[in-house]
Symmetry: C2
Subunit: 418 residues, 2 copies
Amino acid sequence: MKSLAEALLACEALSLTQRVERVPLSEARGRHLSSALSVAQDAPRWDQSAMDGYAVNWREASKSHVEGADRHYRVGQVIAAGHPPQALQEGEVARIMTGAPLPENADTVVIQENVELIDAERAEPGVWVRFTQRPRHVGEHVRLRGEELNVGMGLLDVGRLLNPAGLALCASQGLTSLEVWARPRVAILSTGDELRAPGTALEVGQIYASNATLLQGMIEEAGGVAVDCGVARDSAEDTREGFLRALAQKPDLILSSGGVSVGDFDPVKGTLADLGARLDFWKVKMKPGKPLAVGELAGVPVLALPGNPVSAAVSFQLFARPLIKRALGSSVEEARLRRARLPLLEPIEKKHARAELIRVARRTSAHHGEGWALAGGQSSAWLSPLERADALLIVPEGEVSWGEGTRAEALVLPWATC
Amino acid sequence: MKSLAEALLACEALSLTQRVERVPLSEARGRHLSSALSVAQDAPRWDQSAMDGYAVNWREASKSHVEGADRHYRVGQVIAAGHPPQALQEGEVARIMTGAPLPENADTVVIQENVELIDAERAEPGVWVRFTQRPRHVGEHVRLRGEELNVGMGLLDVGRLLNPAGLALCASQGLTSLEVWARPRVAILSTGDELRAPGTALEVGQIYASNATLLQGMIEEAGGVAVDCGVARDSAEDTREGFLRALAQKPDLILSSGGVSVGDFDPVKGTLADLGARLDFWKVKMKPGKPLAVGELAGVPVLALPGNPVSAAVSFQLFARPLIKRALGSSVEEARLRRARLPLLEPIEKKHARAELIRVARRTSAHHGEGWALAGGQSSAWLSPLERADALLIVPEGEVSWGEGTRAEALVLPWATC
């Protein structure tokens, strides 16, 4: 038997094959860069106006300061964003819009609020203007070429998670696609004679298959591509066919659910061995989810998860999700579930020896503020408390008696909104 | 001029049309239910074993307790999950697997660890067994029909956000599709003579269009469908054509970027008025992002965002994202950006009158622990500090002088990983 900590460490020693793919910017959100990017062009590309106003030559504008406030300037041109300017002539200013390039000989912008048109409605070429307030310093309201980014400096590091601002930054550098870590393909094989597809009729002893839906949602949440390989009946032959079906999908990881315990009808372990899989059968001192088979079939990592839905979900979150996240470029640290420590809103008593991961919801109490409350019954067959849960409270091995108000750590589920 | 608080309240009075759509379970993750669901079948559907073991009749098993520990029972049948059982006969037990239905006359399960086979290797029909430890109480290791869910009770409330466990819960009830709020279609119109598509060559004064990439990422992150309607040049005619192009996409919301200031080349406001739009021109006492036009064009809400990328992003997060989230079924409260209060890791000095939303990153310092540090320069034209930011620190109107260590509230960006 492995302790929970030992099992987590052992899983962190495993890894999926990482592949690189090039995707358009529009599909790169949430992905990690597989190679670093450098700045390809200065930002801004040229000295430009930071405001709507008038481009001036500081030396001329400050000379006028000495000679008196009433000096008039001729508007030599109107520079809109997107259009190349002419050089500024002596005695002239240029009407300029935010983001437009500064003309040669200009180095400072006077904002339009500080400029008065003389006998004119619009600042057109030929119109005369005067300043009601002169520029305070050279370079005022000017964005200098390269003041944000210079050619050759690092733009985004390898492994960087791409958010909308990062994608826009890449677009502003002229990029249309990026090299990122490919989404791992994760094959799902459900096992069990009792499983029928939702939407069909059930006979006595049959239930609707739900683990494939559960695993698909969790795989996609982690960033993987889920490939449902259907249901294998509890026979060696059908289980064997199921795993071959999964392999044919060229997956990066195979997840099976069910058939991994020591029951007489649990053929997963034997079948995998017959197929030549290298397989460790783990018993983890945890509840839910004691049995877990970990190995490799034809070079593809396999995790055989328990069949009870809560056991499958907890085992996935602890052992499978980090593999997917790391294949996508997360660090070992980032790939783990986030931890949060809050007071218990009700006491926890545990008699059994295994560590327990209790489904808890984040609630507010008058007494303790934000804290952990049971999300419902803790049967590993019950999906509804898992649906309401925000986190998995970590109750360590051995007898535990924690009073209300005890601060306790929980693993926050990836879909928790708190 | 509106204060930031007034502008946020005014935006919460707006709403998009909500539409219902039916989607398969495999596409429903992250969506909100548009109608409540009830339990259609008990869970579990029948009394079943919670363990691999032997189904017994408690009265018989406890009678044997009085008579001595050595009573032998005949294995009458083997009940695997998925197969209907026969009634239990007197003097018999039934080998039973986890999840399999309890046979008639049985009410208790003895786990296999507490049962010894007599002269046999496998628990097959006809084999005799004895208990090494008897059941402790009637119903031990039995999951009773309906102990989790009963027909007719509520399964999931209207508006419920669908996580993987919720989808599996629906599958376990036999559902294959769900009615959810449809993703709003959000048309994006970029305006500006200076904009060119990434991947093309630039002339003096031109830049690569990046706001459509920025808005697409933020729209999709919020759950909307982004429809890029291209770039309109800074003329009334081109802007008019752009808005008509956007309308033709039958959007639920139109977002434009740029051309909304008071510059001579800012045609958005006039064009929208010419098209018959009902339009409020807001000046919000905030930095970045003062100008914002809010209105309705042919029945479709329009938000005309500023052109500087950081201004557009901040305005989107404050004013547009909540509209999308609410159309998808979030409450007003849930649709807002999450707030977090942490100590400042560096002092903040602000002289100008407007409220400021400063791009900050969550960092750890030896002195203050987790806190807010500037994510870089605060120019509204700089994308790289926004890319690094985790949150928007709220600095209120008027002069502000906050020392290092002051606890200050920030709006956490949706893509922040902390």
